[in-house]
Amino acid sequence: MQYKIEVVDKPGIFDAIGQGVRKDILDLGINSVKEVKFIQCYILEGNLTENQAITICRELLTDKVAQEYRIVSSSGKAPLKANHPALSDRPVRASALQHIVEIAYNPGVMDPVEASVLKGIRDLGILGAESVKTAKKYILYGKLSASQLKTISEKLLYNKLIQHIVGPSLPQGDIKHQPGYYFNLVTVELLKATDARLLEISKKGQLFLNLDEMRRIRDYFRKQKRQPVDCELETIAQTWSEHCYHKTFRGNIAYKESRAVPALGNMSIKGLLKSTIMKATKELNKSWCVSVFKDNAGVIRFDEKNNICFKVETHNHPSALEPFGGANTGIGGVIRDPMGTGMGAKPILNSDIFCFAPPDLEFNKVPAGSLHPKRVMKGVVSGVRDYGNKMGIPTVNGAILFHKDFAGNPLVYCGTVGIMPKDKSFKKTNPGDLVVVVGGATGRDGIHGATFSSGELTHESETISSGAVQIGNPIQEKKILDTILQARDKNLYSAITDCGAGGLSSAVGEMGAELGAKVYLDRVPLKYSGLSYMEIWISESQERMVLSVPCGNIDKLIELFASEDVEATVIGEFTNTKRLELYYEDNLVCDLDMHFLHDGIPQVTKKAVYTQPRHKEPKIPLKKNLAADLLKLLAHYDICSKEWIIRQYDHEVQGGSVIKPLTGIVNDGPSDASVTRPLFGCRKGIIISNGINFRFGFIDPYWMAASCIDEALRQIIAVGGSLEEVAILDNFCWGNPDKPDRLGSLVRAAYGCYDAAKAYGVPFISGKDSLYNEFSVHGRSTAIPGTLLISAISVMKDINKSVSMYAKEPGNLVYIAGKTRDELGGSHYYDLYNAIGNQVPKLKYRESKRTFTALSKAAEKGLVESMHDCSDGGLAVALSEMAFSGGLGAEIFLSEAPYESSNPRNDFLLFSESNSRFVVEVERKNKERFEKILKGADFGLAGCLTGGNNFKIYGLDGKLCVDADTRRLKESWQKPLSW
């Protein structure tokens, strides 16, 4: 029997979902839709009587107080119940004024609600239900043309990669009902293949392997005197993919540059990562670094008993194709990194940084095959919201930046910090341990994710690579987390790692790299039948972890997981053969030498060229009044308030939030970094911050990298932290590294990282690169702006020393610390004039360190009432934000600000984005003490806070150059993204 059930709000109940859709339709420029009604549909199948179906509707699917239901079909019979206009006796029919769009998931796409509904039905004592599908139905009231309806459906209501419009015909066939799989060993004719054939095999199989690599594989199998099984080829492709192996960062580079300052000179680099990022860490050699660049996340010391770990990942390509699912599984994936670090850490906070094209981009400028940036942005935010909130991990830090070149390829960075006991920070798999897969079942989803992200996106990616797109199931992951931490504390397993890109192939391959492993693929629990051995092995189905478990513990372990409804299955064992052996129903389907798999990849030398670009310097006329420019800057998408997004993330869960992402007298000002107290009653805190500014990279990626590090560090200083125990992470998102210019700028950025990290004494502990971020339409390729995210983490000794950014008291003094230079290159001020310029902010490390150290000491002594770092929009934006967040006015005299210029100008001083600068509020009674501590650093007493709403800045000539109302400033800052 099949029943289709519709649930709808009762009359008089406000339909918030329908209203939201109506608003989005208005955004599309379609004004004729007067109302949208949302209907939730369920399709139940199984051995169910009509009375049982009614019970299910009444007791489970409908909220009696607010909703009504109707069974619209029961295997052809007439509808059963009708008491609502939208559910009238005659089913709603489409007409010129009434349009119906019903959206359902494609077969094979995981519907996270299915398992819950089935459980709910069993709880009612009804055991006959076999499957549940859900669908969303929208009734649009108003006059619409067929093409308008199509626009609304495609641009707002569904994504054809994972969903379809339900037609009047029968529902699409359920994937569960497809025929089973019969074993059939597939080998690939490789031994005699020509070069052309090798490339064809790589391309057709979506292996993304180059000719050298294909030849190396052919040679290996020639020695084995046999053709490879498809599964073996796939395993090698996964392991050697850019995504998993990081060929660019680990390989050799022949680098040439011209005109660059500082000059790095032409050189041949043996391993970019080793020569820059890891080198800084090695040379700094900090005792509090526990585990760096080894595990799934970098680990540092927190206190006597605990360590903390941090990992930031990207999920760009999946988010481009399906923003909700891409971001959803992106955050889900990075959360599993701390869970799979050491013996498993408990995730305690998330950070999310995105780059999109401007949300008001004209529809005709959206590249073919791409979604509109506003849709991408809303989807990504929802995806992160859904997963982060449901995992119960506070999202405490983030940033969002905009540039038109992210239109085809947005950036989605997700980071997670975890905490674990000191003695659980390392793992060791032993021969004889069992391979246990824990969590979700394996399906056909996410196949080729690792290799897919190692190539460029094209306008055809949405059809070719749609298998790489998935939807996450956060509650499944939460169940795994709950049980894993218990199993860890009972010492039931010897090692753990997550199933990420490459699925079991990567997880088991890594854990058994030094030992060897034997896996019986037919024992892996499946979502549905029909998967081949190879699909099982490389599927990237979400929410799975792999454990190595000593034989003696296995019963206890399985029992523990079962007690909370988590599946744990033995699928093989770790050996000491140094071979990867896979079986399917007693057939050997893979037998590879671990050494060849992990170290056999041919070393390549890539070419890199960097030529310093020269941009036009804008000619901006001198102006007496700069208030208008300030208002425009505050409304710049990069700078404006992100409150609409931040409020959708739970930033208080776990109860440890101290400095929150929003702060101020009405909690709406922009905090610099976040401070979290991870343990109840503990004095120590964790500071998280980030630095990202791709605009500087248009001029010189070297200084961009150094400035990103400076930005992350000055945010830590701004909340009362110090440089003492700060670790940083690098995440490079770049274009195609096979193109010498892209790689040249990447090299320069990496050297900028080394120099800044060394100078500030902050080691890198982990990082990740995502290359091939290019989008091509019919062969014409656009690279994203090379973007580096620096994430910083620091242990704060005493959370009571935290400082927030909003102005506190009228009469308090306002200091400006750090020297401003005429470094307008890449600034947002120049962006207002569509210019980039050439004077990129640079760094004088000794000077910066003096400022940082002094301010840190002043905060530690309790002398700082508020502090805000100067970043996007410079001094003027920082002063404005501080004032309006505190509900106060200010009087500022620019002549007192530390300023070095051959041609001093008010606008340059106000809007330059020079590094290492702060605005600081100090009580009058602390003036002498504060100034004594700051002695030797660049600072000036620039004015004071005032009551009321007047925001006045006097220029270098002593004349008023900004005279604004703080309410007006705030309004301008809040408006652009207040959807």
């Binding site: 109940i13 406000f14 918030a16 939201g20 007791e59 489970l60 909220d63 009696k64 107080v65 607010a66 996270p112 609600v113 819950s116 509904v117 459980k119 709910g120 709880d123 009612l124 004592g125 919201r385 909130n389 449901k390 995992m391 119960g392 199931n473 956060p474 509650i475 939460k478 169940k479 007690s563 909370e564 409804d565 931040i646 409020r647 959708q648 993330y649 739970d650 930033h651 208080e652 869960v653 776990q654 109860g655 440890g656 939030s657 101290v658 400095i659 929150k660 929003l662 702060t663 007298i665 909690n667 107290r677 109840f680 009653g681 004095r683 005493d798 959370i799 009571n800 935290s802 927030s804």
Partner: protein, 259 residues
């Protein structure tokens, strides 16, 4: 000293269990995290505890509707032991998702046959809202004893709009003094969005049953145990008490004195 035992009942998707346990511990009780499966399988019994706490989170992913599946587990698998628990004069608190569960299981506002006549539905804004709100205490409830001025707590939910079956249910709640928290401004005056973050009727943020021993509320008192969590008073030094602690202490004190 008598041990006050608190059952922090969790399921798949519960995520405020640890901080709720911490709050009870600081208030002087002995909390224990318990998975609902161990009650359903009779491995453990509710009778071992004085207080039942349903913490926040997304039980079963908020699938179908928030709290619904968990509520049905209570209704169809644990109804008898819950009735007995209540009859013995013991206490129940449901926070956020816990409140949703109490309402959808009919434990709140409370009737013998566990009939649901109020609900918590999607916020008027159509989205998840994480923000700090002021709450005006009122009504008659052991959990809110001594609270006079508006207290300040964070909310974080997508489905928190309180509605009643009809006007008479609302009138009954008011008449019986079952409305215990209303969203308000800093001065205690009822206010509109965002002060009322979800559009609840009459700004209702929390209710109790007729005995005053079962409390459900959308805001999170367990997130404001220390002043350090306050968005603006973090300067108020280490481990000073936050607005949420009194609620937990009231529960513990009540058990000490009455059970």
């Amino acid at each position: 000293m008598k041990k006050i035992k608190v059952c922090i009942l969790r399921s798949a998707g519960t995520n405020c269990d640890k901080e709720t346990a911490a709050a009870f511990k600081i208030a002087g009780a002995e909390p224990e995290l318990l998975h609902i499966n161990s009650l359903v399988s009779r491995k453990r019994v509710l009778g071992d505890f004085h207080i039942l706490a349903l913490p926040g989170g997304f039980s079963y992913g908020d699938d179908i509707a928030s709290g619904k599946i968990f509520a049905n587990e209570l209704r169809f698998k644990l109804a008898d032991s819950l009735r007995q628990f209540i009859a013995e004069g013991k206490l129940i608190i449901g926070i956020c998702n816990g409140f949703q569960i109490l309402v959808k299981s009919g434990l709140l506002p409370g009737s013998k046959d566990l009939k649901q006549d109020t609900s918590l539905i999607i916020n008027d804004s159509g989205k998840f809202e994480a923000r700090w709100v002021y709450l005006k205490p009122g009504g008659k409830c052991v959990w809110t004893k001594g609270l006079k001025k508006a207290i300040y707590l964070p909310v974080a939910h997508g489905e928190g709009k309180f509605v009643t079956q009809d006007r008479s249910v609302l009138n009954r709640l008011k008449k019986n003094r079952q409305v215990v928290f209303q969203y308000c401004d800093a001065e205690g005056r009822l206010c509109a969005y965002p002060g009322n973050p979800n559009g609840s009727i009459e700004n209702i943020a929390g209710i109790t049953d007729q005995t005053g021993r079962i409390l459900g509320l959308m805001p999170h008192p367990e997130r404001h145990i220390y002043a350090a969590a306050h968005p603006r008073k973090w300067g108020l030094r280490f481990n000073r008490e936050g607005d949420g602690l009194q609620i937990f202490r009231n529960g513990v004190e009540y058990v000490k004195e009455n059970l």
